[in-house]
């Protein structure tokens, strides 16, 4: 392997940061979207449930890559707006993330026992208070492991942004390839970096999960 690899260490680390940033942003927006979708999914209105179902089913059957291409090449034409590769990648990834997370969050919400809901209603809490103090902390425990899984998936998925020219870790590796003759070896380094990144995230997620299990014991009116 070339010594050029080490020269580019700084650039690669920065690119890793870009990847983390992109996937993190997609996760946050996706979580917001997923939360809304989860509320729709657990609502009383059939129409809302159907809409959510269509949306999530779409992302299970259609590759996020073509959604990305559409966002980057199609949206500007459709809505007469300019979309950068970063914006297109964020939109596509966040949309996918929200579909993945809606099921997770909905499961979290419904996992909290009926008794909790009733006890809280009797105690006179409003819906927002209920959500904030009783439901979400318990739901969080259920949600966390799949959340970490979705994040890891997003980090991997963010590599497709390279195909529309966004400079994240994969594209950086490909650009370095252009600048140096023996550059192809850089792909191996990139793979290694992704591995280190994602493995660390899963380890951290596991540790966090264990801590939550100890700390987050249900308050009053536990197990029904």
């Amino acid at each position: 392997m070339d010594s050029t690899v080490f020269i580019y260490a700084g650039v690669l680390l920065k690119a890793m940061g870009t990847t983390i940033w992109l996937s993190w942003l997609a996760l946050l927006i996706g979580a917001l979207g997923g939360f809304i979708l989860a509320l729709m999914q657990t609502s009383r209105f059939r129409a809302l449930r159907i809409v959510t179902l269509l949306y999530t089913q779409f992302f299970v059957s259609v590759p996020v890559l073509i959604v990305l291409f559409f966002c980057y090449y199609g949206l500007p034409r459709l809505f007469d707006i300019e979309i950068s590769s970063f914006a297109a990648a964020t939109i596509a990834l966040a949309a996918h993330a929200s579909a993945m997370l809606s099921a997770v969050i909905a499961a979290g919400i419904t996992s909290v026992g009926r008794g909790q809901w009733e006890a809280a209603q009797v105690s006179g809490m409003t819906y927002p208070q209920l959500m904030r103090h009783i439901i979400m902390p318990q739901a969080a425990q259920v949600i966390l492991p799949p959340f970490v899984g979705v994040y890891i998936r997003l980090v991997k998925e963010s590599s497709i942004a390279a195909l529309i020219g966004y400079v994240e870790l994969t594209q950086t590796g490909l650009l370095i390839r252009e600048s140096t003759h023996a550059g192809l070896a850089i792909i191996g380094v990139v793979a290694l970096l992704y591995f280190i990144l994602n493995y660390s995230i899963s380890l951290a997620g596991g540790a966090l999960e264990r801590r939550l299990k100890v700390a987050g014991r249900p308050p009053l009116g536990a197990r029904q």
């Binding site: 090449y73 500007p76 034409r77 007469d80 390839r177 003759h181």
Partner: protein, 260 residues
């Protein structure tokens, strides 16, 4: 008396308003009014465009843009985009012109307008120096695989000149080049100037087949539906070519004579 004067004035005003040029050319108008022409380029394609160490843009196409702006009496404002962005920025009216190594094709001209060409070049096949292929005719064989950039002119070139060969479409020039170097394809088709750059950079590892394949007309592109804008730009191009100014500028940046 007052009433009549008033009526006369009103009629005069209406007449003036009615005879004003009915929605004149949007692009030309806004460029003149704004005092700047927004030009989009590819950013890093020496010597067409490149970045100076101080962060400014320079190159053959930058000079073209500056000279055109000067003739129009406005200032040139440059922005960078990628291949796909050239069309998008014109369609969304974020740019008034693109001067971005843009080959004009009939298909592209259904959505944007092209000026007359300012540069003629050809696509040529590039292969590894130690390849057994001698001529372009040799390459037209089912046992060979030819690579090219997706969505560009390469598709037509390969269809026309190497219909028997296998095709490989790549996401960009860099991928196509990597494929050639890795031996995944036997040849790639790119424009002659790109090939020259690569040959120089890779120091004898690759060579070009001499046959000129598809003729490429590089032209300025602008949003469709602006006939006055097109007319003005074309006039400038005509004079730019005829006066020898183009040939001179080309020689300055490319170091060789222009092709006719």
């Amino acid at each position: 008396m007052l009433k009549n004067t008033f009526a006369a004035l009103a009629i005069a005003a209406l007449t003036v308003a009615a005879s004003a040029p009915s929605h004149a050319d949007e692009a030309l108008d806004s460029v003149i009014k704004r005092g700047t022409v927004r030009i989009v380029t590819l950013g890093s394609l020496p010597p067409f465009t490149q970045l100076t160490p101080t962060g400014e843009m320079e190159g053959y196409e930058i000079d073209i843009g500056n000279r055109l702006a000067k003739e129009l009496g406005v200032k040139a404002e440059f922005a960078v985009t990628d291949s796909a962005g050239r069309v998008a920025s014109l369609q969304t009216k974020k740019a008034d012109l693109t001067i971005a190594d843009f080959t004009r094709t009939v298909q592209r001209s259904t959505v944007i307008a092209f000026s007359d060409p300012y540069l003629i070049t050809y696509q040529q096949a590039m292969l590894m120096t130690d390849s057994p292929v001698k001529t372009s005719a040799d390459l037209n064989d089912a046992k060979y695989r030819v690579g090219f950039n997706r969505g560009g002119v390469g598709e037509k070139t390969v269809e026309k000149w190497f219909p028997n060969a296998q095709k490989s479409r790549y996401a960009g020039n860099a991928d196509a080049l990597s494929a050639l170097l890795a031996g995944q394809v036997d040849a790639i088709v790119e424009d002659a100037y790109y090939n020259a750059e690569i040959i120089q950079k890779y120091d004898g590892k690759v060579r070009q087949l001499p046959e000129k394949l598809t003729r490429l007309e590089i032209a300025i592109a602008m949003p469709a539906g602006n006939p006055d804008w097109l007319r003005v730009v074309n006039l400038w191009i005509e004079q730019f070519n005829a006066s020898g100014e183009n040939a001179e500028l080309f020689k300055k940046w490319f170091g060789v004579e222009m092709l006719k």
